[in-house]
Symmetry: D2
Subunit: 342 residues, 4 copies
């Protein structure tokens, strides 16, 4: 059996979550996310981001969160600006276009969108009524290539969006890893302050399923619950979502799990650094994209599971390694040992 | 704290499911329903219905299953025939219309659709190209009012659909209760034989989440996985779905849980019968719709949670009572005692 | 060659329209309904309804107008209430559901919707967020069965909509015939006053194509032009639409043509009345639904073209006869003569 | 009054079309494109392309044709490959995404897509089921920048599509100008042979409105008429479309009008060539994109109407000039004279 560094959702849930499921299992609760665990979890999240007016909704997965938020906030003729490496551009089977909206693809700079490319789209797309109207900027944090936004970058994006009458939406599938990167200088309070909406990823940080969508703005009205139900995303046993976020946001567990994943990857990165290996992107979270010789990749693949991410040239391939809340130190050591044998 | 007879998803999961989650928790598995539990569960289901070619897909909830199946099998201009009491007609926030399709509403006869009303729609909607083209008949079993289809009814519906080039789709949110009703004469093998597609409800029969969509026909092609992903319904930790269905379909647990729920309701029904209470519908599963005086309803509501389903006249109201896999005998006894005190 | 009473779009355009096309043909004009004819036509319409703030848009046909208005004003989870005989319910190939919205079907009383059925839907559909939210009431005037709304009916509907936070939208495919019926007491000014939106039908009153959508309310914003373009309804040569409405709204031509059609039908109706024939609906516009013996229908069909509308019983069928702006008196006389020979 | 070279839809219709409208005006015809003119026009088109099995449909405009064809032939999770300058990518207000489908943007080489970029997308988008499935290649001929495809290019594209299980669809808004360019070596028969579908543009070649969609393949089934109606594109007076195409395809008028527009532009191009002006693209149809000094543009704009297409650098701007079936020689001479005065 190979050890997997393929993704951060290879295991089940953090034990504290299973324990909470066991403890509460036979307690009767209201359905459809009206249970008391969901209610408490929402309060904890609002407190964490210091936004008592924020609206919080729990759904099952990241693509679902994205299509719900974007499908809901946009009028039919409005569009999204996202960068080339963004998850919505080519890893969600056209889910966003499936709701009727165009995605403008901006260049990625180490996985991140720039203020310049946003301004460029916003000024080029003004031929009313023959062109769509850009309305939302989509970013991910941590990004798909393992990098994170700095506070000053986030502020600049938000300011740019405000200037151009755009909304800023952050996909936080790996928010835990971004917020707990050593280089991170964004606080939880900043998330509500400098975005219009974001989601807190649970699936990739120890939950069985679950993402918490947060709207910091009151613009959203009360129609979002209808939309969640209409798109098949309202769980009868919403308690499953609420209880998990309650567990993750009590005692700082959510941050701890993110830190663990990052720490494990840091060890791995140091081992690659020591070997002088170069990387496809500059990372500081739980993902790493080392560029190896093809025969090294083949050798490593004998004992470990991971994605071959990109052919770099005839002789070299970038692979993707991921650690998670669950990655034990012995797996990290086994990988490092194998690396050192290459 | 009131005892709830409000629905069959008030509790968490059957203990065997939690136990399976605990046992497998740290085992690494492939994501996106490619894990080994899902694979085994699909095999068990195919065996159960004796349809080795059937395609099985796991999704999170009933509305999601319905919109996926109907959105996928229909061309844009095709429509669905369903009866008035059908879940898709007024309890899913227009999820089906949200995929672009009209639902024709046929009369309900004790919660069931009739061959006559199907023929009627199929023959009236023929003004090409000004009218939609009926293409799917949607039924639920057990129905929303607690009744079930007989084998001869199911065969007649299927034959009618075959004659009229219609597909027959069964919503099995409470299939466990239908299949384990004392009056039921439909076998699991019949489900694959006399429908084109159906889903096996997990959420209302002991799972945390989960419905198993089954296509008995090969017409479906391999595009459905794309569609599941596009609509945000593909879970990263698909293992959560697969493991639950594996547990439910081992050792006949799924049937046992359905039987338990039905048995508890049978006791309740007998108590109402003994009091001479009449019902809104003829039921034989885990739902009951007794018609009580308004003051009796108020009295009962002091200690029990349930839906007031329908005002019958100025003085009487039909309530809905539901039992589940989790309903303990003491709750049933408490309810009967309260009833006898009325 | 049979004489056709099948519909009011069997001929081309009123000669004044063709003359205007000839006169202006080689004048260069801006595209996309920014030409000067469209601009003038909009002004004439705003003056006619005494609503200087009203927004007017020209599109090609009735189904297009309906799907544009309803698709634009509704949020995804909102629905429409319309009566059973309404054009959108079963003569537009699910165009409205195709934009994602449910239509609630209310009973038809001589082709008209009632305040009671609107209240009924609005109060029944309140199970947030499991049910769609009714938001628009759709009516047609003249109706599909040839009847018209009275001013007091219209006022009552509008008041009911205001009370229930609903919008009132009038499909005016045959508005010319309604406004020029002898029994009509609604003025053009009333249309803007007692609806939120309506359209003025051109296709069935002498235009080659064209309907004028009018929003009396400012709520609509400036996004509708985007939506028209997105749905493929923005004509490059919008001048074709503008010039026709300019011609129709100069010198009262629009009303004259409606009156002509009604007058021709009145003669026909008197002939049927004289024969003691009964009708499927009470009409006062350019449609008539006489109930004839099947052999009489067959006899009439030898020389005339019309729809067999509805089998009334084994021996009788209701047919639909329609006159138009183009129906010459000799055709009316030929029909009456044939009728008297029956 | 300025002379307009802004587009090829500034005037009304070719006089022969108005004459035909006058001649047939009071003849009664069946509605919904079932009239005899439409029928004859379809026959003429089938004969012209030597494809007796081809299906022909008449609709109002180009965006409408595109969204109908693409929305109809694609399954929800399938996508389109088009080049950067393609009309559907940024001049149709997201009409295609509005039907739920992603457009992959390939590089433009003088307005044309290449086999290499198609292969690139088809091989990169294979991560089932996380990525959309490319299914249609969209091209325009003549292109948006005035160039045309050669027969060998078209054959190579079609062969590439066949190899990769893709459909090839040609947007022929300016097909008249492509087919009648001096450099053109594609025959009308080739259009049916080397595409799966295309449309013949009428609006930009002398019709008031109208495009003829042609499916050369039988795969399309009989559902397209439903879809046309559902999307609001079925004209009641379809005779307006049929009669125009009948006129255009009798006596070779369609080709004559295209040749006229091209010839007028050729004179203009020669004048620019003589002045040593360079162009934004290499053209051979009725469009020209000369690059002028900003002050020359301003000077020209005093007497002529045209688009400023693209800022080339601080001092230079490319403008777009268009001629049409209606452009008189005196306008061409006036423009050349003005040019020579610059």
């Amino acid at each position: 059996m190979k050890l997997s560094f393929k993704n951060d959702y290879s295991e089940g849930a953090h034990p504290a979550i299973l324990e909470a499921l066991l403890q509460t299992n036979l307690t009767q609760q209201a359905g459809y996310v009206l249970d008391e665990y969901s209610s408490k979890a929402k309060t904890l999240i609002r407190e964490r981001i210091a936004a008592p007016e924020a609206q919080v909704y729990f759904v099952s997965g990241g693509t679902q969160a994205n299509l719900l938020v974007l499908g809901y906030v946009l009028r039919p003729y409005e569009s999204i600006i996202a960068c080339e490496s963004a998850h919505i551009t080519d890893s969600e089977t056209g889910a966003i276009e499936g709701t009727g909206h165009k995605i403008h693809i901006a260049p990625s700079v180490n996985g991140k969108i720039t203020v310049e490319s946003i301004r460029d789209y916003a000024t080029r797309y003004t031929n009313y009524p023959h062109q769509v109207k850009p309305r939302v900027v989509y970013i991910t944090n941590a990004t798909e290539v393992g990098s994170i936004y700095t506070l000053s970058e986030l502020k600049a994006l938000y300011q740019c969006c405000q200037d151009l009458d755009l909304l800023l939406y952050m996909d936080g599938a790996r928010l835990a890893h971004a917020m707990n990167a050593e280089q991170n200088d964004i606080t939880w309070e900043d998330l509500a302050r400098y975005t219009d909406a974001f989601y807190i990823g649970g699936t990739k940080n120890g939950a069985l399923i679950g993402e918490a969508i947060v709207f910091g703005n009151p613009f959203i009205g009360n129609g979002f619950s209808y939309y969640i139900k209409q798109k098949g995303a309202l769980l009868a046993k919403g308690r499953l979502l609420g209880l998990q976020f309650l567990t993750l946001f009590q005692n700082d567990l959510y941050n701890q799990l993110g830190r663990h994943a990052n720490k494990q990857m840091k060890c791995i990165k140091e081992a690659f650094d020591a070997k002088g290996v170069s990387f496809l992107s500059e990372t500081c979270t739980n993902q790493l994209f080392p560029i190896l010789k093809n025969e090294e990749v083949a050798k490593l693949a004998e004992d470990f599971d991971f994605y071959e991410w990109k052919k770099v040239d005839e002789l070299h391939t970038a692979i993707r390694l991921i650690t998670s809340w669950a990655t034990p130190t012995e797996n990290v050591e086994a990988l490092i040992k194998a690396l050192n044998r290459l």
